[in-house]
Symmetry: C2
Subunit: 110 residues, 2 copies
DNA sequence: TGAACATATGAATAATCGTTCATATGAAGA
DNA sequence: TCTTCATATGAACGATTATTCATATGTTCA
């Protein structure tokens, strides 16, 4: 009589979330995985700023900032408001802060 | 009498966090910015697993998983426990779940 | 309408990164 | 100690990405 393989805890059947969610999560965190974009988000922590103001604060060229703002906007992390010739960007919701806070806690609490 | 430039809200002096923190945050989120690593972390949600078990669950080669586990371990997100010939990996703390949860909320709540 | 200004876009380049294949390490059992 | 098995490591390749430079878009004001 053939013996059943011993059942180990790690052999429990596992299911992963749907591929689309995994992809979306990866794409979202990829946006946070760049120092320039993190700097931009921190710059907007206390309120809106123009593209020029951001690029001066970060010491980077204006096109570099515009490219990154586009990425941040595509991820719904920032939004822009036009006033005359200039566009003021701001954090589009509180999720930015809570995601960064969650990461910060991992770095400090250990 | 020269007129002061109108003070706009965006002209407030801003300070960014120290460069090292920004770099550490970026590096941490970069680890989350890959579907394979997110899959691995989800696989370990319910408990430890061997490298082989993970690679079979994800349908990927063993070296691919080992490389990613190394990255996850370097970020203190997973840890390994040796038992005989096999090594069981597990989430090293609850931060993994809270970071992913924060990202998940951004994706769903809007 | 035309000049001036703020921002956006596109192409190109350099650097980073994930996977694969081949192989090395290290533990267990005969 | 030799073989086997699980995992780790290293080099190489392909793909993705951040920045730069040049230029386009679009708004304001004369």
């Amino acid at each position: 009589m053939p013996r059943e393989k011993k059942i180990q805890p790690q052999e429990t059947k596992r299911e992963l979330p749907p591929e689309e969610l995994l992809q979306d999560l990866g794409d979202l965190f990829k946006v946070f995985g760049d120092t320039t974009r993190i700097r931009i988000m921190y710059a907007l922590y206390e309120g809106e700023m123009s593209v020029m103001a951001i690029s001066e604060l970060l010491g980077m060229t204006q096109p570099a900032i515009s490219h990154q703002l586009k990425t941040l906007k595509a991820a719904n992390l920032v939004a822009g408001r036009r006033q005359g010739k200039t566009i003021f960007y701001y954090l589009s919701d509180e999720h930015v802060k809570s995601i960064i806070a969650a990461g910060y806690e991992h770095l400090t609490e250990e």
